[in-house]
């Protein structure tokens, strides 16, 4: 996967920044390297929109299963990669990152691991588990529905349901209370008889509802 970067490095003449090779250095190391090559360059940091950690990929390989045949179609594999998070700092999933970001070396490495595991005959769940055991649960795009994480998944729903029940109870209480007597407040500057008020009331309600 580095060849496309080397190609690009060649056309971007005079730059060593992109040919980092093998996922070794961080972007800062690349910048220092470039600084050494071009004395005039005082650019200290190849800032992307986010700080990219090119060395974040870990090798995840498992021995192929006996008589291994891939259990996932390419489409299923892509779907699986949508559930695994690229670790370069882009916050994207592996599929999206590797098909979008030219400069990321982490998602192609993770993609290669996925392909290796698929070739080795592992199921989607087994591949997910292998990634989690190496990177931890942060490698998943959404937390698993178990343990403490259940709190993440169910609190919003529970909160809304409880809120809905509270409002319903409230409304019921209000409705059961007798409506306040329809008398004009002593200090109110309403100069109208009760009959006029009622007619106005009807007119206003009618106006609102056609």
């Amino acid at each position: 996967m580095t060849s496309r970067r080397q190609f690009f490095a060649r056309i971007a003449s005079g730059s060593a920044a992109i040919a980092l090779g093998g996922g070794g250095g961080t972007s800062r190391a690349g910048a220092q390297q470039r600084g050494a090559m071009h004395d005039s360059s005082i650019v200290r940091d190849t800032t992307n929109l986010f700080a990219m950690d090119q060395s974040a990929a870990r090798s995840i390989t498992l021995p192929p299963k006996p008589n291994a045949t891939p259990q996932l179609t390419p489409a299923q594999r892509d779907e699986l990669e949508h559930r695994i998070r690229c670790q370069c700092g882009c916050t994207l999933d592996v599929f999206t990152c590797r098909t979008t970001d030219f400069s990321c070396q982490v998602s192609p490495a993770m993609h290669a691991n996925v392909i290796g595991l698929v070739q080795g005959g592992y199921s989607a769940q087994e591949i997910i588990d292998a990634f989690v055991s190496s990177y931890g649960e942060r490698v998943l795009m959404a937390p698993r529905k178990s343990g403490f994480n259940l709190l993440a998944w169910f609190t919003p729903g529970v909160a809304v349901v409880v809120g809905g029940v509270l409002i319903a109870a409230w409304l019921r209480r209000w409705r059961n209370e007798p409506p306040p007597p329809a008398t004009v407040h002593a200090g109110a500057s309403v100069d109208a008889t009760q009959d006029e008020l009622e007619r106005l009331n009807a007119a206003v309600r009618g106006d609102d509802r056609e």
Binding site: S3, F8, R138, G147, T155, P179, V184, R209
Partner: protein
């Protein structure tokens, strides 16, 4: 600036509130000025002499970026004014119609700019970043969405306070929460406590904002808790089936979504703190949690305007709901017949149909009434209808925009992605979500060197059902400075062919060897309706906000009369 305008424009009307409000605004200003002077001085000098400026990150060189940050900023900052008036009301224990007027106007302004800012941010992410969508539930996106949600909730619930004098406590809380969420958003962007693609804006002001946030929260909690009694509702609800009840549920859902988004955004911190377990809460989480809530909200958007204030009768309900509900069902059946099977999307489109039916019915009735009473023809009747009741009909126009957004979001459920590798002349065949047969023919890799950048480009000649549509080009660009050193990382220039039905979105991921292009070809249905919907919301917002200077005294009198008639018991009339 806002502070000065707000105080200048409302000084005469709110004599008792102004000292407190201007004090609060001053305190907020003091904080921000102190931050820029002491902690993050923007004019600090570099410790070396650069040969040449670096210029702007090319991903930010996009017209959307000229407008997205200022609009969001205006939206954020505008939350400070209602907050100041809320604090003033709490201090002075005065919360009346004048207060409502000021706070509503400024909240509307905040809402308006946040809407524009968010939509432009979505557009920028879509055309510039190349990952193929417009919303990724990034923490910083979320933190712009949160005050928008609470502002929206407030703009609805305030109508209850205006018409019925209820929900005072709740409204004050919403105003305050909007401001606190804006500060919280700034804190997230600036502190980098949560991993985000916006963390380029990190600076050491995190602790300052955290302190300010907790201080402001503390003061507000104290004030609200000690003044609860002064804010007691003066009237009570009369029926479970009334527009007030619909608004209450609307508020519940909006605040529920805000809570779900906030919860998902901070949960990684919570999890790490509680269990030591680092986790990611990404788009799958937010989509799962928010889609049902969003659909509920959409349903309420249709239901609310159909239910009468105070108490709705059964015959009234039947008459109001018949045509919109029928229209929604027709839409769902038609889509099912056309082969749509995704249940969430079917529900979403049925509700879109229902809400559209509601809005059309409201406009139809209004126009018919005007035609009968004033003997106007169709177009003038329509114009006068909107002009005479801007808030109501402007609001409906905003709802039209919302329907378009929901329709577009539901369409994204059908997006398809293809990971393709093509040499010059090779073809790639696929089907789009509507079932059309597409063929893409690679025109090969070309390179070019511009003064400021090196470019690799790939053109795909696109055919749909055998008909040639043109060439879609995607580029990779490496920007260079005047010394021909690389600047920033290489970036993608996405090739997009946009129609009302479908966006064809081509991303050049990279080139292998000399001539093998690695591409992603994505079909994104209905994306154009996101931008259209955003534009319609903006128009609706403008209609609502447009000053009605001459008619205002008349309206004020009218509003007071409604209160006098509907709630004669307690409301102090004509305050």
């Amino acid at each position: 600036m806002y502070g000065t305008i707000a105080i200048a424009t409302s000084r005469s009307r709110n004599r008792e509130l102004i000292p407190w409000a201007s004090g609060t605004i001053s305190a907020i200003l003091l904080f921000f000025i102190a931050t820029t002077c002491i902690k993050a001085n923007p004019f600090v000098r570099l410790d070396f002499m650069p040969v040449d400026g670096r210029g702007m990150n090319p991903q930010l060189q996009n017209p959307g970026m000229a407008f997205h940050p200022p609009n969001l900023y205006l939206g954020y900052v505008a939350t400070a004014i209602p907050f100041a008036f809320a604090i003033a009301a709490l201090f002075s224990r005065r919360l009346d119609a004048e207060w409502l007027g000021v706070v509503r106007r400024w909240t509307l302004l905040s809402w308006f700019f946040l809407t524009i800012g968010i939509i432009l941010g979505m557009w920028w992410a879509y055309v510039e970043l190349g990952w193929g969508g417009y919303w990724a539930w990034d923490p910083v996106e979320n933190s712009s969405f949160l005050p928008w949600l609470t502002n929206t909730a407030f703009l609805h619930s305030i109508m209850i306070q205006e018409k019925r004098g209820m929900l005072r406590k709740w409204n004050v809380v919403l105003v305050v929460v909007s401001f606190l969420l804006a500060i919280f958003g700034t804190f997230i962007t600036r502190s980098g406590v949560i991993e985000s693609v916006h963390s380029f804006a990190q600076s050491p002001v995190g602790p300052w904002f955290a302190t300010f946030f907790f201080l402001a929260t503390g003061v507000t909690i104290y004030l609200v808790s000690t003044r609860l009694h002064d804010l007691e509702a003066k009237v009570e609800l009369e029926s479970m089936v009334s527009r007030e009840a619909a608004f209450l549920y609307n508020n519940l859902v909006l605040v529920g979504i805000a809570f779900a988004v906030l919860w998902g955004t901070v949960f990684p911190i919570l999890s790490e703190w509680a269990t030591g377990n680092k986790i990611t809460v990404g788009p799958p989480f937010f989509n799962t949690v928010n889609v049902p809530l969003g659909l509920l909200l959409l349903a309420l958007t249709g239901i609310g305007p159909l239910i009468a204030w105070r108490r709705a009768s059964v015959s009234n309900l039947k008459r109001q709901f018949a045509s919109p509900a029928l229209f929604g069902i027709v839409v769902a059946v038609a889509l099912f017949a056309l082969g749509m099977r995704a249940s969430y999307s079917l529900v979403a489109y049925a509700l879109c149909g229902f809400v559209t039916g509601t809005i059309v019915q409201e406009f139809y009735k209004g126009v018919r009434a005007r035609q009968t009473i004033h003997e106007e023809s169709l177009i003038p009747a329509f114009m006068h209808l909107v002009e005479r009741n801007r808030r109501r009909y402007g609001g409906y126009i905003v709802h039209v925009g919302i329907v378009m957004l929901f329709a577009a979001f539901a369409g994204m459920a059908f997006r398809t992605e293809n990971d393709v590798t093509l040499k010059a002349g090779e073809t790639f065949d696929t089907r789009d979500p509507y079932g059309h047969q597409w063929r893409f023919v690679s025109q090969g890799v070309s390179t070019s060197n511009r003064p400021d950048r090196d470019v690799i480009a790939v053109g795909l000649e696109a055919f749909r059902d055998g008909k040639r549509l043109g060439i879609i080009t995607s580029e990779k660009r490496q920007y260079l400075d005047s010394q021909h050193n690389t600047l920033f990382e290489p970036i993608t220039e996405v090739g997009i062919r946009s129609t009302a039905k479908l966006d064809t979105y081509v991303v050049l991921a990279g080139v292998r060897g000399n001539d093998i292009a690695e591409l992603r070809v994505t079909f994104n249905p209905l994306v154009m309706w996101v931008w259209t919907g955003g534009f319609v919301m903006m128009i609706g917002g403008l209609i609502v906000m447009w000053p009605q200077a001459e008619r205002r005294p008349v309206q004020a009198g009218y509003a007071a009369t409604i209160k006098a008639s509907q709630a004669p018991a307690e409301i102090p009339v004509g305050v």
